[in-house]
């Protein structure tokens, strides 16, 4: 079996009639074995698909809001356009991506993105704050600019993992905070399974 990983929008409000699903699940891969890392409450997700038919792959990447991760996760991202593409694959969905260098592997990229999703999921499960990226908030917005409930949710999510939050100050950007949390998640050795280990 061959796994393919895509980054794409998440749709649905979570209700019975509109469950939260990857945007193209119903239309393009309703019968493929699949797993999803939703980015918490945000409208983005990573999807792991098994044995994607070429036509399905073509149809998926033909959408402007879909980014495909190379099948060989151990290959280097590379420089130039490849590097820009990799960074944009994450930044488009408000996942920090400017840290990526040409010498990083795609596995490092997807593991980092997966860790960001897990941190956002813990924040989601606490049901304290709402969306992060709403009302003009971006990755470069400061922690102090977030609503109080969102700030508390972020701190509680980090504390639930025993992360070090000493660097989370009012002037910290959301990019800095999410990056720190993701790196601490990876350093803690938590597993990451998305139709197979990452």
């Amino acid at each position: 079996m061959v796994r393919s990983i895509y980054v794409m929008p998440m749709v649905g409000d979570g209700s019975k009639v509109a469950p939260r699903l990857p945007k193209y699940e119903v239309s393009l891969f309703p019968i493929l074995p699949r797993a999803v890392f939703d980015y918490g409450n945000e409208q983005a997700c990573m999807v792991g698909l098994q044995d994607v038919p070429p036509a399905t792959d073509t149809a998926l990447v033909g959408n402007a809001d879909v980014r495909r991760i190379p099948a060989n996760l151990d290959q280097l991202v590379g420089s130039g356009t490849a590097l820009t593409t990799a960074r944009n694959a994450l930044e488009t969905f408000n996942i920090p991506g400017t840290w990526i260098q040409a010498t990083n592997t795609w596995r490092e990229v997807v593991r980092f993105a997966g860790a960001c999703c897990q941190f956002a999921r813990r924040y989601q499960g606490l049901v304290i704050g709402g969306l992060w990226f709403t009302g003009g908030v971006t990755l470069d917005s400061t922690f102090a600019s977030l609503p109080a409930a969102a700030r508390q949710g972020i701190l509680d999510a980090a504390a639930s993992f025993d992360f070090d939050t000493s660097g989370f100050t009012g002037s910290s950007t959301l990019r800095t905070i999410i990056t720190s949390a993701a790196n601490q998640f990876l350093a803690a050795g938590y597993p990451l399974e998305l139709q197979g280990p990452l």
Partner: protein, 433 residues
Amino acid sequence: MTTATDSFTRANNSGDLGTNWTTVPGETLIELLSNQAANHGDSADQAEYWNVFTPTNDQYSKSKLTAVAGYTTGDGPGEAVRMSTSAVTYYRLVCCHQASSNVMLSKKIAGAFTALATVTQAWTDGDTWELRVVGTSLTAYLNGTIVSGLTTTDTSITSGRVGLAYSSENAGKTATWDDWDGGDYGASGAQTVNPNAIATGEALFQPTVKLQVLPDAIASGENVFQPTLPSTQTVQPNPVATGENVFQPTAKLSVSAGAIATGESVLQPTVKLQVLVNAIATAEQVYGPIVTLSGSPLSVLPNTITSLEAVYAPALGQQVVAGTITSAEQVFSPSVAVVTPQTVQPGTIATAEQVYAPAFVGLVTPGVFPDDIPSAARVYAPTVAFVPRPPPPALVRVAPVRAPALASAPHSAAPAFGSAARRTGAPPLRVGP
């Protein structure tokens, strides 16, 4: 480790599963029907949790399921873990008999439903489905076997109860649960492997074991033997990682006979010898080290020789450093050979003095021979007669004589002046009666 079971063998109850079960607030109940649990209609999602105890965060829920045909992806009966007692929050595994994508692992967070993983897995009514969560890993099992593709990671929900869940098709479908089992999935407790639990041909993996010798695990006085190593095994260099503590046993190490196979190399450890204080018993002999007397003179440090020790004169040619011999020590004179001739100056011996014959070695004054004067004999100074000097001769004037021109001999020898008259030797000593 706490677990519970329920066979649902009791009277029908359309209002609940019984006193040990509670409906999740915000969801619809599950009812008792024909000694099984059954969905209560098909128009709304349903969930009930076991209310007798709160399991640990690593937990499972499993039961035998049936479902009529017609359910679609994401709908049907299933298991639930980490169920909230106050909100529609839990992980859920539901299954149906649709030809594809018929098993779904999902979560509900405050009522919001998100699909986590979906696969196609054929199954038969009455099969046992299980949802297990350990840490952040969710895994689905069918009849005790992991379902491929249904292991995933999620961090949203950290704790809760175990129980049953149902995703409605809203088409009048029916499903049942039986022989439910749930509770702690306790890796920390003793695990029992039931007979025939492992099918023929399955691979069993040995857990990773780290052997460790704890500090003080070897009591003082115990013998530590080298393990018997098969000839194919070797002890690798650096088997102890950097930073690990290695404790030396107190007891002597002994190597049993035959423990080291023929042909094996045994390396001598680096040993530092040290003589401890009081290690030499009284009355034991201690031998001085062999010292080469060459090079710089050896010195004896102050107070290194006790008052009772004898110090022998060194061979001549060596120096005794000032201050190295204390006042109470005995120092013996070396044998000295006198090689310088001794003379007795005239007039130095007064009348009636006793003069002892020295032990002469070498030259003596002519006329007196060694041992001529016996010991204790008196020697008197001789009487010296004054002899008047004869008058000088009359001087005669002589015309000066011009020195001839010098040829080859520049000087004539100077005459000796009155040598015989001015040097009157002492008469030979005479031995008195």
